[in-house]
């Protein structure tokens, strides 16, 4: 290495020192000399580090690995090499030039705070938010819940119908049949909510419960069902959700956990998608409990109303066939349908004295409610 010109910034003032650098006699260090430096500096080659990710190759900014209180353990002084040969020589002979050094204890600190963050987030997601949601769901006045439920149903209507007017099916005979079904299911027990049920003109095989006692069945489900008892089972299941205020609880909890998850995942490219999947997994964990509870509620309700649970079982069988892609159990919001079918079938075997829930004519009217 020849004696070469370079620039030196001492990290104390904004003045620039024009210096010369040369290799020491023992070839272990770089000697920096300059008229404006009080005395020559000796930088050991072993300790040399260079700035990385720079937007240029015409210069190499060197610093020294040293125990300082800087962000990285580095000397605040900088030596700027401009001579291409010297820069090439540095790249060639110093493999550790771009090493990222860390202060001692960085990993320990990161470990502690990761633990803290995970604990805080876990506590929020799995203990505090669900508990708050449960408590608050109980004290919302019922008329408010009903008002909110209506908003939710309207939103669902817009989403399903892609904004094209009302989806509500209005055939009077069909509505009468549906109401008869609901009355038969609910008349024998104490209900917290007045159930208001309706059918939407949409091909999806599904039904949902909104806050405040609104139950919506989609046309696809009526068409896929072979008997009114299947529909009754599903209705009983949704009424189970209504009675335990699942939808309200869910909305409250989601408001908290969605905000938290987006914060943790952050705003990098496409991060919203990952946050969404995270929220889905969380929801799945909760819903599986809620679904199982609603199933039990439905069986109990069918039993009291003297309706056979066989239809309910058959509905799960059909659902199983419909699901083209095998959804892993932990991703699905519903417990594995085969298990649920078996549960309902076992229950149906114990039942006695059941009677049909609708007459054939009423069942046809219900199926044609959207015509």
């Amino acid at each position: 290495m020849q004696k070469t010109e370079a620039q030196f910034f001492d990290g104390l003032t904004a003045g620039r020192h024009d210096v010369h650098v040369a290799l020491s006699d023992d070839r272990q260090a770089m000697i920096i000399t300059g008229d404006t430096l009080p005395e020559p500096l000796r930088w050991t080659l072993m300790d040399l580090r260079a700035l990385s990710d720079t937007g240029h190759t015409d210069r190499l900014t060197l610093t020294r690995h040293a125990e300082t209180d800087d962000e990285a353990p580095r000397d605040p002084a900088r030596l700027v090499l401009l001579d291409p040969e010297l820069i090439a020589w540095m790249h060639r002979t110093r493999p550790g030039l771009f090493r990222a050094d860390m202060h001692k204890g960085t990993w320990r600190k990161i470990g502690i705070y990761t633990g803290g963050a995970v604990a805080a987030a876990g506590l929020m997601l799995f203990v505090i938010l669900p508990a708050m949601a449960n408590t608050l769901a109980q004290i919302i006045p019922i008329e408010r819940e009903i008002a909110f439920g209506k908003v939710v149903v309207r939103q669902m209507e817009r989403v399903l119908g892609s904004g094209s007017g009302s989806l509500r099916c209005t055939d009077p005979a069909g509505i009468a049949a549906l109401d008869k079904m609901v009355t038969r299911l609910t008349e024998t027990r104490e209900m917290q909510y007045q159930i208001s049920s309706q059918v939407f003109d949409h091909g999806m095989v599904n039904a949902f419960a909104a806050p405040g006692g609104q139950v919506v069945v989609l046309r696809g489900l009526l068409e896929a069902a072979e008997s009114p008892e299947e529909v009754a089972g599903v209705l009983a299941h949704e009424i189970g959700h209504v009675e335990s205020r699942d939808a309200t609880r869910h909305a409250l909890r989601t408001a908290g956990s969605a905000g938290l998850l987006t914060m943790i995942i952050g705003d990098f490219s496409g991060g919203a998608a990952i946050a969404l999947v995270g929220e889905k997994l969380m929801t799945a964990a909760y819903s599986r409990e809620a679904e199982a509870a609603a199933d039990l509620f439905a069986l109990d309700m069918l039993q009291q109303a003297d309706v056979s649970a066989d239809g309910f079982a058959r509905f799960f069988d059909e659902l199983d066939d419909l699901q083209g892609i095998e959804i892993p159990a932990y991703l699905s919001t519903h417990p594995i349908t085969a298990d649920r079918a078996d549960q309902a079938r076992d229950f149906a075997r114990e039942q006695s004295g059941t009677r049909p829930i609708l007459s054939d004519a009423e069942w046809r009217a219900l199926q044609n409610i959207c015509r």
Binding site: I140, E145, A258, M263, F268
Partner: protein
């Protein structure tokens, strides 16, 4: 003649030394390296479920800082990814309770008082605004504390809550005067920040008064004027002419926003002082406007390729028939053999590819050219006073930009 950036830089330094005290700024970054850097770090970020974003931010900043060279000497970004990660974790611990509980309570309140969830979102937005300003100031403080030039640290004195309160007040004034006092807000907030900015042991000062910014809203007023003229035209039934007028007004409004940003920055920079050192900024708003329009147009064009691919895959997932119907039989047959899960995987991958490509393209076609334009327009006068400036102590700032990161304030660069 050797025209590599390095040789040019050397020639520029020599020339400036001969001229004496007026330092102009060089910019040496090129598009392809920043495109690669953004894209590769973006891929790593996705693969690590977002964890690598602290490294991405650090590396991109290091690159930009090193490309900006006032007086031929590059800026240096010394921020550390580990401290960003740590700062973020600290913010999560603090904010987890706040965000979760506040969001849930607001939802509850809007359940009980109003009829829907829209009110809750509006309320939670209002609740976050003060923290948003607070986080912005903190993020700026962190970035300045980690920026060095000629070996000396920059710094921003503490004052984030003061900033948040002033920002709220000025926004209030701006809103009740229908935007007429917007230039006043721009000036006052910039003065608050500049007067707390340090380079080494010297404090910066913002001179001038807010009235010098007033006429920078002239293009907004012009847009308003054109729109007002178009109303009677529309009333008179000349619909095509009126539509043309409204389009013109919209275009003027967009240009006005760009003009405002560039022009206020120029005027504010011209009145900044660091001891006897003064700054001067020369940027043409039309060029900024052109970079924005052409850069985004090019990026859109290129990003449309993976987006199209994504759409095809999506349709394919929906149903094979759809493709056949819209006349893409070939595509349909190619994909027919593929396993359904492979399709899902491909869809997910092209979804991320769209985002990654978009961020890398806009970095190369928008952010870089605009940064270059600003950097090259900046001159430092009175540089003979530089050697008298001494180092300032380190600002530890342990939570880094954690709050800004957690709240998506977008401190970006």
């Amino acid at each position: 003649m050797d025209t590599s950036p390095g040789a040019l830089a050397q020639a520029e330094i020599t020339a400036q030394e001969q001229r004496g005290t007026r330092l102009s700024t060089l910019f040496t970054g090129r598009r392809w390296p920043i495109f690669k850097l953004t894209f590769v770090t973006g891929v790593l970020t996705v693969l690590t479920l977002g964890l690598y974003r602290f490294w991405q931010k650090t590396r991109v900043r290091r690159w930009y800082w090193s490309a900006i060279r006032p007086g031929g000497h590059p800026l240096e970004y010394v921020g550390d990814p580990y401290e960003k990660l740590l700062g973020f974790l600290i913010a999560v611990v603090i904010l987890a309770f706040y965000i979760g509980v506040v969001n849930l309570l607001l939802m509850f309140a809007s359940f009980s008082l109003f009829q829907g969830n829209v009110a809750a979102y509006a309320l939670s937005f209002v609740g976050v605004v003060p923290i948003w300003f607070y986080a912005r100031y903190r993020a700026r403080r962190y970035v300045l504390a980690r920026t060095r030039w000629m070996g000396l640290r920059f710094g921003l004195a503490p004052g984030a809550w003061g900033y948040a309160l002033r920002a709220l007040w000025h926004w209030f004034l701006t809103l009740i005067t229908l935007g007429l006092l917007w230039p006043r807000m721009t000036f006052k907030l910039e003065k608050y920040r500049t007067d707390r900015t340090w380079f080494g042991d010297h404090r910066m000062e913002q001179g001038g008064s807010w009235t010098m910014l007033f006429w920078t809203i002239k293009w907004h007023l012009a847009a308003l004027g054109v729109a007002l003229v178009c109303l009677p035209i529309l009333g008179a039934g000349l619909v095509p002419l009126a539509i043309f007028g409204f389009c013109l007004s919209g275009l003027l409004l967009v240009f006005g926003a760009v003009y405002y940003r560039v022009e206020t920055r120029k005027r504010l920079t011209g009145e900044k002082r660091l001891g006897s050192i003064r700054l001067h900024l020369k940027v043409n708003p039309l060029r900024v406007f052109w970079i924005l329009v052409s850069g985004y147009a090019l990026s859109l064009l290129v990003a449309a390729i993976p987006t199209g691919f994504l759409l095809v895959l999506f349709f394919r997932l929906q149903s094979a028939e759809t493709l056949t119907e819209i006349g893409m039989d070939e595509m349909s047959q190619i994909l027919a053999g593929a396993d359904r899960w492979a399709l899902v995987g491909l869809t997910v991958m092209s979804y991320f590819a769209v985002f990654l490509l978009w961020s890398a393209l806009t970095q190369a076609w928008v952010t870089l050219p605009i940064t270059r334009l600003y950097a090259r327009g900046l001159t430092v006068e009175g540089a003979q006073a530089l050697p008298a400036i001494r180092q300032r102590p380190r600002d530890e700032h342990i939570e880094a930009e954690g709050f800004a990161e957690a709240l998506d304030v977008g401190a970006s660069l």
